[in-house]
Amino acid sequence: MIRGRGGEPLSTGPGDRIRFRRSPVAFPATPPETELRDGWTVVLRYEGEDDHPGPWLVDLSHRRRWDFQDRDIGAQTPMDLPVPERIGAVGVHGPLVINRLNRTQVAIWHLGDGDPPSTPPETGFTETTDGHCMLAFVGPGVPQALEHLTPLDLFDPARATPFLTQGPVLHVPCQIVTFAVDLVVMTFARGYGETFALAALESGAIEGLRPGGEESFRRAFA
């Protein structure tokens, strides 16, 4: 028996191995409860989470995501979802969220419960799950925590939630969806994941930001 660096059991024959997957983010906290899902080790809860009112930073990098592009995107229904008419608009359809990025492009996120759909065969789709780090800011105090990370106006009262913002957080270009005053989800290039998350926790600690498990996100998203 050989063990992988993360302690995953590896047998000697390739056929028997667990094809484990790694998130770009590893929080400096102890998870009492994890779940193995499609190769990802998903943290459901962190130690001491129940005694903390929030805000939490939740790693959702394992959630599946797609990029869909088409010149005539308004006429398309990728994954049977209506494409939001306005650029910057966000549609929530059950477990799926569709963000209108620009004239020709949408991003689709699987954020709800249940199994994610598989990638449709149309040319316009590219699965981008592995290209991003996805983080959620959950709980009371999210706006204050984010004030330490970005100059973007993520809580403009003039905009109806949910809405999309594309811009820099910690100087890294991000796609950010504001679902509510206590729920913001963002994606950015996977390579930044580790240092971004650490910086976010460091600056956000002033407002009580701590690592949270997927459960806290699921409660907020529901």
Binding site: L101, N102, T165, Q166, G167, P168, P173
Partner: protein, 101 residues
């Protein structure tokens, strides 16, 4: 001075989110029969009428005010779209209604 640009996708954003793409000079010229000098002029040579307004310590100056110019910008820190806008090099401000081309 810090200013903002109007991205056609994201709206007004701080100029430091963008990459400057130069004056709008129209599509690249046909390469058939293009002389070397014409090409290198097209790439590098620009006319930037100038002057400055209300210079430090001066009042408003009449005369040669800079002409607003059409230019290209790329929203690299945001949506990743190239767009045209009109900006006045004399004030370093986007001209009203310049955004979104």
């Amino acid at each position: 001075m810090t200013f903002r640009l109007t991205c056609p996708v994201c709206g007004k954003r701080d100029v430091y989110e963008f990459t400057f793409g130069g004056q709008d000079r129209g599509p690249r010229p046909a390469q058939e029969g293009l002389s070397a000098e014409e090409h290198f002029r097209w790439v590098q040579f620009r006319m930037i009428p100038g002057g400055w307004e209300g210079g430090e310590g001066g009042g408003v100056r009449e005369g040669d005010r800079a002409a607003p110019q059409e230019e290209w910008w790329y929203h690299g820190q945001g949506c990743g779209v190239w767009f045209r806008t009109t900006r006045d090099p004399g004030t370093n401000r986007e001209v009203e209604g310049g955004g979104g081309g």
